[in-house]
């Protein structure tokens, strides 16, 4: 008896795997930080109507998350 999943299941699994690799892959911190960036900007822009602050905070947070992920890749000092 074959235990191989059916074609639709395999296609669905492949589709899910592609998006996982595409969005998360080996840098889950970038996926998480993007969600945090959106949440923080939404809170600033919607809750307090702080439009000007949001326009400044959004690029700053994006650069900050890039800095964090690059720093994580630096070799550790022995």
């Amino acid at each position: 008896m074959s235990t191989r999943p059916s074609l639709p299941v395999r296609l669905l699994k492949g589709f899910g795997m592609f998006w996982w690799d595409f969005l998360v892959g080996d840098t889950p911190e970038l996926f998480v930080s993007t969600i945090v960036i959106i949440a923080v900007t939404a809170a600033l822009g919607k809750a307090w109507h702080a439009n000007v602050a949001a326009t400044v905070i959004l690029p700053v947070l994006v650069l900050g998350s890039l800095l964090v992920t690059v720093r994580r890749s630096l070799p550790k000092k022995k």
Partner: protein, 250 residues
């Protein structure tokens, strides 16, 4: 003023789509050349053709569906995807520019693919292996082009412009590849990837803001400012990372 902001939005869109499509085409072409030279062109071309049909079917299935998503949600989701995708590109570009990651070497990838194919059984599954390799190479790289075109094109209401730009990039790289008849190892890929990363992150930031109903100063014209901010930030990060890497090594 309106013309200036309109043109800066279009320039960023066209540049991002063109460069991203060209980079993906170079990568796909490298795999197809390795398969064609090693296992024969017929199976390689069959793999390419089926991958193109599959990509067309995907676009036909999911492309029109995007139009039915409310615009602010579409821009927020697209912006988020572009931010993640662009930041991944920029991270790799910064690490490569500062010497912490090996540069994407098409010659090495070509040789690795050839060695992998030569090591496989050449008598029984010959066509199947060549077909699968060519299909996977074109489908996966092509899928990234499709996502870039659909996300950028739909959210900017310039899907036709994005699709035509991508087609021109793919055809141009294809023609150059066929003329030189080898993988395009001389293309300054890291510079192109850095530029694409900056453009994708700038667009991602812009659309996330639009999706959250932020009013950008100067509307579309602010895209150019975002590109400048991220280009400067990336340059500073490359300088800092290079110094940090040297300090650790010392």
């Amino acid at each position: 003023m309106i013309a200036a902001s309109l043109s800066s939005g279009v320039v960023v869109l066209v540049s991002a789509v063109f460069l991203a499509s060209a980079v993906e085409m170079v990568e796909a072409l490298t795999i197809v050349f390795a398969v064609g030279h090693t296992r024969g062109w017929r199976s390689a071309f069959e793999g390419v053709a089926v991958a193109l049909v599959a990509l067309t079917a995907l676009v036909a299935a999911f492309g029109p569906a995007l139009i039915h998503i409310p615009l602010n949600w579409l821009r927020l989701i697209v912006g988020g995807v572009l931010l993640v995708f662009g930041l991944q590109w920029l991270r790799k570009a910064v690490l490569r520019a500062s010497g912490l990651k090996a540069k994407h070497d098409e010659d090495a990838i070509y040789q690795e693919t050839v060695a992998e194919l030569q090591g496989l059984d050449g008598s029984v599954n010959r066509d199947k292996i060549a077909f699968t390799m060519a299909f996977k190479g074109v489908f996966l790289e092509g899928l990234e082009v499709v996502i870039t075109v659909l996300t950028l094109g739909t959210s900017a209401h310039r899907l036709t412009l994005a699709a035509v730009t991508a087609a021109i990039a793919v055809v141009l790289v294809g023609i150059v590849g066929v003329i030189v008849s080898k993988q395009l190892s001389t293309v300054p890929e890291n510079l192109m990837k850095t530029t694409v990363g900056i453009l994708l992150v700038a667009y991602g930031t812009f659309w996330v803001g639009e999706g959250l109903s932020i009013k950008w100063p100067g509307n579309d014209g602010f895209l150019a400012a975002l590109v400048g901010i991220y280009a400067l930030g990336t340059w500073l990060m490359v300088q800092g990372t290079t110094s940090a890497a040297k300090a650790v090594a010392a």
